[in-house]
């Protein structure tokens, strides 16, 4: 684990007299390996460690009697700062319904998270309506309908032949029936599929969502920067949900996504059940990434 590794590293070096900048660089190469093995993107890790190095030298780690502890504290603080301050509430619109649009790659957990988010808001006194705008995946509508039943929420589905039209009608219904929140599930899509990214842009345009939530698989590797950046540039995302974090994925993708989009991680998915949604805490993820 990181503390032991760096401790061991520095104590070996101190044996030769006082620490040099080269020693700190070497120690951080070790940290880089840990970050890469935790699936932090290569470039993101590089930039992150550059900041850490500047701080370490600046804070005179070289003169410290406990350099390992000091470097680790710097790494930890920088990670938490990068991952985003503590949890903030999802935005609400001035006029109801507040719309939340769920987007992301295939299989990342959007449909399940749509149900989880609805459940979460319902427990907090909201009246969320769900909308099934994935008309492409076999039985996707069935899936969201079942999910809706399981959490006691209504689902707008099968009201039109295109996702855009379903979205439009769902918002219309939410307004006319006085729902305060509308959560819209969409089909998984590749960020390199221009037609589908365009479709999503149109859906966003139609809905004016208060939040566009990028639902990302917690075990994503180096590619996380590519998809997150593309969704961010093409659509504009306002927040991230990192799913399947109940496994042993280290979650380095979170750092990459946060770094490249500048948007906060809102929630983590911690299981298949519809109550398995946790508000995001940077310190917990920082510990996990550092192993």
């Amino acid at each position: 684990e990181l503390t032991e590794k760096l401790d061991g590293f520095f104590s070996k070096l101190k044996g030769r007299g006082k620490l040099t900048e080269q020693d700190v660089k070497a120690a951080l190469r070790e940290v880089r390996r840990i970050l890469l093995e935790a699936d932090v993107n290569f470039r993101v890790a590089k930039e992150f460690l550059k900041k850490v190095e500047e701080r370490a030298i600046g804070e005179e780690v070289l003169k410290s009697i406990t350099p390992a502890q000091q470097v680790i504290k710097i790494i930890h603080d920088e990670l938490i700062e990068l991952l985003g301050d503590n949890w903030t509430q999802l935005k609400r619109s001035k006029e109801p319904p507040t719309v939340y649009l769920m987007v992301g790659l295939q299989g990342s957990g959007k449909t399940t998270t749509t149900g989880k988010l609805g459940n979460y808001l319902k427990k907090r006194g909201m009246r969320p309506l769900l909308a099934a705008c994935d008309l492409q995946r076999p039985a996707a509508i069935d899936q969201l309908e079942r999910v809706g039943e399981q959490v006691g929420l209504q689902v707008v589905s099968r009201v039109a032949d295109t996702p855009l039209e379903v979205a439009r009608l769902a918002k219309k219904r939410a307004r006319s029936e006085g729902w305060d929140t509308l959560i819209v599930d969409t089909a998984g899509r590749l960020h390199v599929d221009d037609a589908l990214m365009e479709e999503l842009a149109q859906i966003k345009e139609e809905l004016h969502p208060a939040e566009v939530l990028f639902v990302a698989d917690g075990m994503t590797g180096q590619d996380a920067v590519n998809s997150a950046q593309a969704f961010s540039e093409r659509l504009g995302i306002t927040g991230v949900v990192l799913t399947k974090m109940d496994g042993d994925a280290r979650g380095g993708a979170a750092l990459s996504i946060r770094h490249v989009t500048g948007q906060p991680i809102r929630f983590t998915g911690m299981g298949e059940k519809l109550d398995a949604l946790e508000e995001f805490h940077p310190s917990r993820l920082a510990d996990r990434i550092l192993g």
């Binding site: 093995e37 790659l105 079942r146 399981q150 698989d217 180096q222 590619d223 496994g247 042993d248």
Partner: protein, 293 residues
């Protein structure tokens, strides 16, 4: 830049970055760079020679991954082992499809069922994911598209019961090939891993050698966690091959290299899209080209 001049430490660092960014992981990337360094010490590598050397080393590593395996899964491609329709073997060939949530199992089964059915085999799909909402409905659509039969249970039914019924039906109806879809599960969930072992035992009651093939489905965007997945799933069932999905995106799927190196599991199929035709038999050139695309 790689392939511009001669191979020096700067270029090696660049190559390491390319490999790590392709999800090969630190250790495998370093190993590849070490082999490259050694080669260039024997004879200086310049320009295109660098790229060619990298490709050769990658192919070597991929090849090493599949040699020395106790189970010869390449029997599938061995013409002598082609199952002739009308050969009527006593029991059907059974394949389990396993993997973590959302990796592409159900979709891949649709594609595989279509592939073999097109070759004239009588295929049966067994819908043993009785847990996830609308999983059976989803697989049923694929069975219809591939024009193959499907055995289902009721939602919440015991998956073992569905496997039992499915295989019994396959035997009595002279089915050539059975694909068993299972629920997505995290490899860290002990109960769900035990459930897989139970499905294995149930299958053997009907077809003693089943499953003949166990495909672990890995999402092509997966990072180093893919190694942990392969290791843990391997502890429950002998994995005979990988299906790597979603390589029609920008991910390179490089994690198949460390998986192959550590566990000797070969890649069998590659998923390149959401349509029925979007599955190709694995070929090493595919990986090499993807990494340097």
């Amino acid at each position: 830049a790689v392939g511009a001049g001669k191979l020096d430490e700067d270029v090696l660092e660049e190559i390491e970055e390319i490999l790590i960014t392709a999800d090969l992981g630190v250790e495998t990337s370093m190993e590849l760079c070490e082999r490259l360094r050694k080669r260039s010490q024997v004879k200086t590598l310049v320009g295109d020679e660098v790229l060619i050397a990298i490709q050769e080393i990658l192919e070597d590593m991929l090849e090493e991954n599949t040699s020395g395996r106790p189970v010869d899964t390449d029997e599938e491609d061995d013409p002598e082992n082609e199952r002739e329709i009308g050969d009527s073997p006593a029991t059907p060939h059974v394949t389990f499809i396993i993997g973590v949530n959302g990796s592409g199992k159900t979709t891949s089964i649709g594609k595989l069922a279509n592939y073999y059915s097109r070759q004239g085999e009588k295929v049966l799909i067994v819908a043993a994911d009785t847990f996830r909402s609308a999983a059976v409905e989803q697989l049923s659509v694929w069975a219809e598209r591939a024009d193959v039969e499907i055995t289902r249970g009721v939602t919440g039914a015991d998956p073992g019961a569905v496997v039992f019924d499915g295989l019994q039906s396959a035997v009595s109806r002279g089915i050539d090939r059975v694909f068993v879809d299972t629920a997505g599960r995290l490899h860290t969930n002990v109960n769900l891993m035990r459930e897989l072992e139970k499905l294995d035992r149930v299958a053997k009651k009907i077809v003693p050698d089943a499953p003949h093939e166990v495909y672990l489905v890995i999402d092509g965007t997966t990072g180093q966690n893919g190694i942990s997945q392969a290791k843990r799933f391997m502890e429950s069932l002998p994995i005979t091959g990988l299906i790597v999905t979603k390589l029609d995106g920008t991910a390179k799927g490089g994690v198949i290299l460390p998986i192959g190196r550590e566990l000797k599991i070969p890649v069998k199929w590659i998923g390149l899209g959401e349509g029925m035709e979007d599955l190709v038999p694995y070929a090493p050139e595919f990986v090499v080209r993807a990494i340097f695309a």
